[in-house]
Amino acid sequence: MTAQLETERRPLVELQGVTKVYGMGTAAMQALRGVDLRIDEGEFVAVMGPSGSGKSTCMNILGCLDTPTQGKYLFKDVEVGSLTRNQRALLRRHHLGFVFQGFNLLKRTSAVENVELPLIYRGIKAEERRSRAARALAAVGLAGWEHHTPGELSGGQQQRVAIARAIVTEPAVLLADEPTGNLDTARSIEIMELLTAFNRDQGITIIMVTHEQEMAQFARRVVQFRDGLVSVDQANGEGR
């Protein structure tokens, strides 16, 4: 059963002995010390671990925002470390979606315009852009809120706009670094249900950093970081 699954699934991202060193000389700080991690298409992975253990650093590398100091990062068999800045930007544009802890929406910009943003960079025509953005907002339960600016929305609503913006391009992977870090439990659970739905219905691979066990429950696999290394990597609900 497991063997069969492994042959069916194709690796989406793969870290091989990845290290990341910030700074130089005596001030050098080793954030990652040789991470091996493979995540396949369609997975929902929760990344956990104490603060400072390298989770965000790892997410930045997976999100092609940063490159490893040493080791290999393969995204769909492409060696990301050898790509130029612009090539990595194009990879993000076409394959990745981001959700941040601080929402990171454009201020004074309506929800629908925020969601349209990645479509503009993809060069999609105005009409299609509008309808896709509206559909994405509807999918996160914000139909009717299209013309509200972030300042007029609650935290939970803002994070849902951010999720709509991340999934509107139908990315291969959605990377979420503590997406519920600024929300109360009820709001957090709503967000998790949304992510679960996108993972299940659209097959979007989700990699999510969280501190909270309760949120990690929604994932099907949990990766634990400790001191710049993966310490535990197990399927969720094992033994449950």
Binding site: L90, R92, R93, N104
Partner: protein, 401 residues
């Protein structure tokens, strides 16, 4: 890609109306200043040209001496009436000749006195200068021949000596003789030379020679070139004739000078044009300062918008797309500033022109130039901040507070 960038830039501008307005204020003022200066300067030049044309473009002025300058005298011999008669006789292109002689003196009426220029002339003076006598009359043949004590006076003299009284038939003292006023010249106003054209008294030439100058000298001969004849040719003919009459030999310098209005026009419009250029240049500097203002505010805006830039980069914006967006923002803003400046300049120069009594001349050329220049300012001064934005590291930018 450009339409998308334009869209993004326009959204950004619309979102920050106040900031956008402050950014372009310098450009608005700079463009407006340049256009107003150049337009007003152009109006002044046109006015000068028109005033000279009103003197008569077929007018030639023949003076004694080598270089024309205010109040200049040289040791060259004066003209005589015979010279004027010879010009009329020998040169067919000349339709009228007005010999004259002049001197500064004081005119007195009652207890008002006024220092003015007395000119001894004949009736041809009115013809060649195209100058009417709306109240009163010109000289009679008998008055000219007998050297009667009569005069035609300019409107400034009327104002200074008579105020609102009617001067006709009154007598004024000119130096040491008194004469009767028979006419008042049409007012011509300030001349382009800066002097008052209406500040003069005309008396018959013979009267002047006997009672003021005490000699037969002619200091100025003004001639009209007949309609359709070349002034250049007439000028050459006069020079040739006078050289013979005054015994100027070979390569010797002429001891007289023939000037036409074209030269004077060139000289004067040259002066106003230099002034216009100068003022325009000063205004252009203010446009440059406006450009630096744009750069300044764009740089601040890049810092202020670091997080926005981070979001764009994370989403997959290319370096050159961010660069282009900021550049387009700068250019759209500065062009917009240019447009507002043009509108401001139009109303401003129409108002200023009517205030200064200068004709308003619509000059589309300078507006196009000012507009293009303001767009160029956007590109030049927008580039540095735009590059700064484009080169930000997305992770740092996203973390920026």
């Amino acid at each position: 890609m450009l339409t998308n960038t334009l869209l993004l830039a326009l959204r950004e501008i619309r979102r920050n109306v106040l900031r956008s307005f402050l950014t372009i204020l310098g450009i608005v003022i700079g463009v407006a200043a340049v256009i107003v200066m150049v337009t007003i300067g152009g109006g002044a030049t046109a006015q000068v040209t028109e005033q000279i044309a009103s003197l008569g473009s077929n007018l030639l002025m023949i003076r004694v001496g080598q270089h024309m300058g205010p109040g200049q005298t040289t040791s060259a011999p004066p003209f005589g009436l015979a010279d004027a008669q010879a010009i009329l006789r020998e040169i067919p292109a000349i339709s009228a000749v007005a010999p004259s002689s002049s001197q500064r003196l004081t005119a007195v009426y009652g207890n008002a006195n006024w220092t003015t220029t007395a000119n001894g002339v004949d009736n041809k003076f009115f013809t060649v200068r195209n100058w009417a006598v709306p109240s009163g009359r010109q000289f009679l043949e008998t008055e000219l021949r007998a050297g009667k004590a009569v005069c035609v006076i300019g409107s400034t003299v009327v104002k200074e000596l008579f105020g609102n009284q009617n001067p006709l038939d009154k007598s004024i003292r000119l130096g040491n003789f008194s004469c009767q006023i028979i006419g008042v010249l049409e007012a011509k106003g300030q001349s382009t030379f800066g002097s008052d054209q209406d500040d003069l008294v005309l008396v018959p030439l013979r009267t002047f020679q006997r009672r003021v100058a005490g000699n037969q000298d002619i200091s100025l001969i003004q001639v009209s070139v007949a309609e359709g004849r070349s002034t250049d040719k007439a000028k050459n003919d006069i020079e040739e004739l006078l050289r013979i009459r005054r015994h100027v030999i070979g390569a010797e310098n002429d001891n007289f000078q023939v000037r036409d209005m074209k030269e004077i026009t060139k000289m004067l419009t040259g002066t106003t044009q230099i002034l216009t250029t100068l003022l325009g240049a000063v205004a252009a500097v203010s446009l440059l300062v406006g450009g630096i203002g744009i750069m300044n505010i764009m740089l601040v805006s890049v810092t202020e918008r670091t997080r926005e830039i981070g979001i764009r980069l994370a989403i997959g914006a290319l370096e050159r797309e961010v660069l282009l967006q900021f550049l387009v923002e700068a250019v759209v803003l500065s062009s917009f500033g240019g447009l507002i400046g043009i509108l401001l300049a139009l109303t401003g120069s129409i108002g200023l022109a009517s205030l200064l009594k200068i004709p308003f001349i619509f000059n589309p050329g300078i507006m196009v130039i000012a507009f293009l220049f303001s767009a160029a300012v956007g590109i030049i001064f927008g580039f540095f901040p735009a590059r700064k934005a484009a080169r930000l590291d997305p992770i740092d930018a996203l973390r920026h507070e």
